[in-house]
């Protein structure tokens, strides 16, 4: 992918050199050829429609090519492949924290397997940050209050610098790290050696700690919607509108439940804003994402080490 960007860059650089060179050569040539000592009388030429049209239409044409090519590359950046593996991350003043689905957590380092599509889902704990990996020609703002994602496919093993590219305060320049691209086998070893319980398990713990299962259950005592099979599917809201449940919706329903009430339910869910930080939120959201359709009755279950999530990658806008 970075080569796409580089070809585009070379095209624009060539254009830059050509036109700057053209202007420079003309200016220098005219300045010398028509200097006052040699040419005391100037010829009052007022203009030329042909020239005006030429130097309007040609730049416009070149611009259209640049625009179209750039748009295609941008689309590519914005459409992660459906089977990309997911890693979650939080930016906070002034560090990056990443959480792998298998449970591994790391700070300022991101281990990924080579030749695999990786989608990183990010949010900020505080101010706007930016996840930037120059080697991948990639970046995306990380905004508090919502989830964004970037994706890449590393084609060579190695360490690549990671920067925060949106000014975020005192140690903005300290918020640097590395993306460590490993052979798939090595990656597997690395990620399973960091056992802390998978992300899903961590999420399930939080789900129970916060008492979510008191209302979100599959039987007659339920006062909240059943969360099994929620993620990736349409939800009908009280005002009649229909939305697709994505990570952002799940998070919003936890911190600001009264914004979107599901049809058939009352606005009785309390807000959990301030009671859960973004790292734990990621685990909780992931857990809810992982809930499969279950038999009726009792609280919902998931398979503990599951890395597969049904409907894992619906078309998510870079939002």
């Amino acid at each position: 992918m970075s080569s796409h960007v580089d070809y585009l860059y070379f095209f624009l650089t060539a254009n830059l050199i050509f036109f700057t060179g053209l202007v420079a050569v003309l200016v220098v040539y005219f300045a010398i050829r028509y200097r006052r000592a040699k040419n005391p009388k100037a010829e009052p030429i007022h203009g030329s429609m042909i020239l005006e049209l030429t130097w309007t239409i040609i730049p416009l044409g070149i611009s259209l090519v640049m625009f179209a090519w750039g748009a295609v590359v941008y689309f590519h950046f914005n459409r992660p492949p459906a089977n990309a593996m997911e890693i979650y991350g939080t930016g906070k003043q002034w560090m990056w924290k990443f959480q792998h689905i298998e449970g591994a957590r790391e700070i300022n380092q991101l281990h990924v397997p080579v030749n695999r599509d990786v989608r990183v889902v990010l949010t900020s704990q505080d101010v706007i940050h930016d996840f930037a990996v120059p080697a991948f020609r990639l970046k995306g703002d990380v905004v508090p209050g919502r989830y964004v994602s970037v994706w890449f496919r590393a084609t060579k093993t190695g360490n690549y610098r990671l920067f925060c590219d949106q000014y975020c305060g005192t140690l903005h320049s300290g918020m640097v790290g590395e993306v460590i691209v490993m052979d798939p086998a090595e990656y597997q070893d690395w990620v399973s050696s960091r056992g802390e319980g998978s992300l899903g398990q961590q999420g399930e713990k939080i789900f129970q700690q916060l008492g979510c299962n008191t209302c979100h259950r599959n039987d007659s005592l339920a006062r909240g919607p059943n969360l099994a099979g929620l993620y990736g599917n349409p939800v009908k809201l009280k005002d009649g509108s229909l939305i697709i449940a994505d990570e952002g919706y799940i998070r919003e329903s936890i911190v600001n439940p009264s914004t979107k009430i599901v049809a058939g339910f009352d606005n009785v869910m309390p807000t959990f804003q301030g009671q859960i930080n973004e790292d734990d939120m990621i685990a909780l959201v992931y857990y809810i994402k992982s809930l499969h359709n279950q038999q009726p009755g009792g609280p919902v279950k998931t398979s503990p080490n599951s890395t597969e999530v049904p409907g894992a990658n619906p078309p998510v806008k870079l939002q």
Binding site: N256, S258, T259, I261, D266, N267, V268
Partner: protein, 247 residues
């Protein structure tokens, strides 16, 4: 002298000058047209200024509709409506003031200016009453005890919109009131400036500065006053009317 220019013999110094003609202008007409154009351009900048807030309001109303409905309903439509009437009347009296100036009728001009000023001050007084009510109701954003709760409806009933069924998020309600105070506050500041301008006009009229040949300040401040009125004509429906529950 360069051969580009043609010599024009200027009129004898000060003999034919209108006393109010400023020396960088060539004629009263040029001066008047310049002043008018200046005021119109200024009013366009004011549109951009208020426009920013209107845009923010519309965006948040779309996102936080329920909170905006009840925030709006909690505003006193009688005071708001009275204020609208007051301002519309004040625009009428302002127009009559300009008309009197055009006819050179000094006493009438002063009378209508005074009336306009009075109506403007009445508007501000009513706004003060509204703001005090909001303070007592704990509807000031940033107050520690901010709470959008009980609202008295037009049919006499009282409802408490902090109950879950009304779907009012207090944070979102704070945003409504922030925008309410920012917009009406900015408008009120413009009214105060207008009141000062009107007082200045009154003073100038009293001193006999205006005549049928020179009343430009009256005309242009009239334009300003009408503009401030029009901003309210937009504010009132947006804040008080379109979102509220009428009962």
């Amino acid at each position: 002298m360069s051969d580009r220019t043609v010599v024009i013999h200027d009129a004898p110094e000060h003999a034919a000058h209108h006393p109010m003609l400023q020396h960088h202008f060539d004629s009263m007409e040029q001066q008047k047209e310049a002043a008018s154009l200046g005021m119109w351009v200024f009013l366009i900048t004011e549109i951009m200024f208020f426009g920013g807030m209107f845009a923010a309001y519309l965006v948040y109303r779309y996102w936080y509709y329920d909170a905006f409905v009840w925030g709006s309903t909690s505003l006193n439509i009688w005071w708001g409506g009275t204020n609208t009437l007051v301002l519309i009347c004040s625009s009428l009296t302002m127009a009559l003031a300009v008309h009197s100036a055009q006819l050179g009728m000094r006493k009438m001009l002063m009378f209508f200016l005074l009336l306009t000023l009075g109506l403007g001050l009445a508007f501000l007084g009513i706004k003060a009453i509204e703001y005090t009510e909001k303070f007592k109701d704990h509807h000031i954003p940033g107050q520690a005890d901010f709470h959008l709760g009980e609202i008295k409806m037009a049919d006499g009933s009282t409802i408490d919109v902090s109950e879950p069924k009304y779907n009012v998020d207090q944070k979102q309600a704070q945003i409504f009131f922030s925008l309410y105070f920012a917009m009406t506050g900015m408008h009120a500041m413009h009214m105060i400036v207008g009141a000062v301008l009107l007082s200045t006009l009154l003073y100038m009229a009293w001193k006999g500065k205006f005549s049928a040949t020179y009343y430009t300040p009256v005309e242009n401040i009239g334009l300003y006053w009408h503009f401030v009125d029009i901003v309210w004509i937009f504010l009132f429906p947006l804040l008080y009317l379109i979102s509220r529950v009428h009962r």
